[in-house]
Subunit: 285 residues, 2 copies
């Protein structure tokens, strides 16, 4: 039985798993929470040592490793000038000889939704995930779009409010500066878990606005929305987003486009990391 080694570093929480071609998680190993990148790497190294025995116990063979990286790890690595792919490859290859593939967590989320979630068997869709940051991936013509630096689909810096709030990136009115968890908590003065109805509708409208332009530009007809904000705000947010889509997707090919909540089964972070590995080895999308 072919297995993939899934490494979830999106903080959902972090962990390792062995995942088969059908998306069944046969084994999982949590990674202890760490603050700094060095600590995470040490923790990973320690847990990786158990992998060969776990693979053998499950009677499988490992064919690839997929790593999904969240914003926190990505930012830490970026700030320190470290190459995550090189470091992950070095660590993994010290215990097993398989190719290692690293992806942004939002792009991994899109792959997972296309594999086992709300966009199963859909050839054209966009997926976005709203947590501390906003990210995502776009699948067109059955392929996850890469772009010049393999960053396509990371939708956080899409301008939804041209005169809106200043985003840490330097621009104004980015989706991330309007609907991320910190943005919501800052503007409402309340924790994410205690939203007002109007706040949930506002987030939905902003998400719907970005989704509508994507639909009108890329001729996709499905947008999948996940992450903590989508879970907390649930149908109130999605309904407001769908209203915005209905008002804005009015051309022949975009009418009837839908926005839905994510459906990848738990543990979705591990499924996402596994999807990264299977995607690069021809199994997913």
């Amino acid at each position: 039985m072919e297995l993939t080694l899934a490494v979830d570093l999106t903080g959902s929480p972090n962990g390792l798993g062995l995942v088969d071609r059908d998306g069944k998680v046969l084994d999982s190993l949590p990674l202890a929470p760490t603050e700094a990148l060095d600590g995470l790497w040490e923790e990973l190294e320690g847990v990786l040592e158990q992998v060969p025995a776990r693979v053998a116990r499950n009677g499988g063979t490992l064919s690839a490793c997929g790593v999904a990286v969240g914003a926190t790890v990505g930012d830490l690595a970026g700030a320190s000038g470290r190459d995550l792919l090189a470091e992950a490859s070095r660590l993994v290859s010290s215990v097993v000889e398989v190719p290692v593939h690293v992806e942004d967590g939002g792009r991994a989320f899109a792959l997972a939704e296309g594999w086992l979630g709300a966009a199963r068997e859909v050839e054209n869709f966009a997926a976005l995930t709203i947590d501390e940051t906003v990210s995502g991936g776009v699948v067109v013509d059955g392929r996850l779009l890469d772009g010049a630096m393999s960053q396509a689909g990371r939708i956080g810096h899409w301008i939804v409010e041209p005169e809106g709030r200043r985003c840490p990136c330097g621009a104004r009115g980015c989706l991330e500066s309007e609907v991320s968890v910190p943005a919501i908590e800052l503007s409402s003065g309340r924790p994410l878990t205690e939203p007002s109805y109007e706040q949930m509708r506002h987030v939905g409208r902003m998400v719907g606005r970005a989704a509508a332009s994507i639909v009108n530009l890329l001729d996709v007809r499905l947008v999948v929305c996940g992450g903590r904000v989508a879970r907390e705000y649930a149908s109130t947010m999605i309904l407001a987003a769908q209203e915005e889509l209905d008002a804005t997707c009015r051309i022949s090919f975009s009418r009837g486009a839908r926005i839905v909540t994510a459906k990848t089964p738990a543990p979705s972070g591990l499924i996402g990391a596994a999807a990264v590995a299977w995607n690069r080895t021809g199994g997913v999308l």
Copy 2:
């Protein structure tokens, strides 16, 4: 020598041409202007009869036919429920036996820019063309994106002004309702050829705003802008668009993105139609 039959129905003006693999136009046949779709089809049928002799005279063999369709023809066909691909195929096959490929003019423009224009040898770019309507195409990972109904990249209904003008499509603040030729003339009360400096800068800012979000979403670093408005407003508009890009593309992978004017050589409409044919037969993008 392999040739393509290029049929330009984008109104630039309409015409037929024989184009080789290098983009050289060996022969061209104008189509008389017509108002209705039936007239255009009759005109095309008459001119097509000359094609076999023209191909023989040029010592070539025809391997495909590409048709680029502008908004006017597209709207007429849409309103009458006619299938352009079926009609074009029927007409062409009455004189020559080659596969026929039909594309939106904006998508053909993108292919032409990637083949012989400003995006030559660029694997990731967006192209938009601003005339009576606004259209375009997006090339990611070296491929023109199709989408669910082969309409991807038609950027006209991207929302640039959330509270902006009502667009004929029914939404508000679409790029097309802000910067198309009719939109410009309506809002300024002056013909396109007599713009104010502020008008040109406004159009540039709107174009730059859409371009910046595309760059931030799709990880492309080049946007090519063509059509009548780009020609008339030239560097004043492009400079304003570039300023908007510089202010908005601030994340690691989008910094330094550029917007430039189209560079496909004349007759660019025929080159676009030829690019459609070569694209589908493996020669362009």
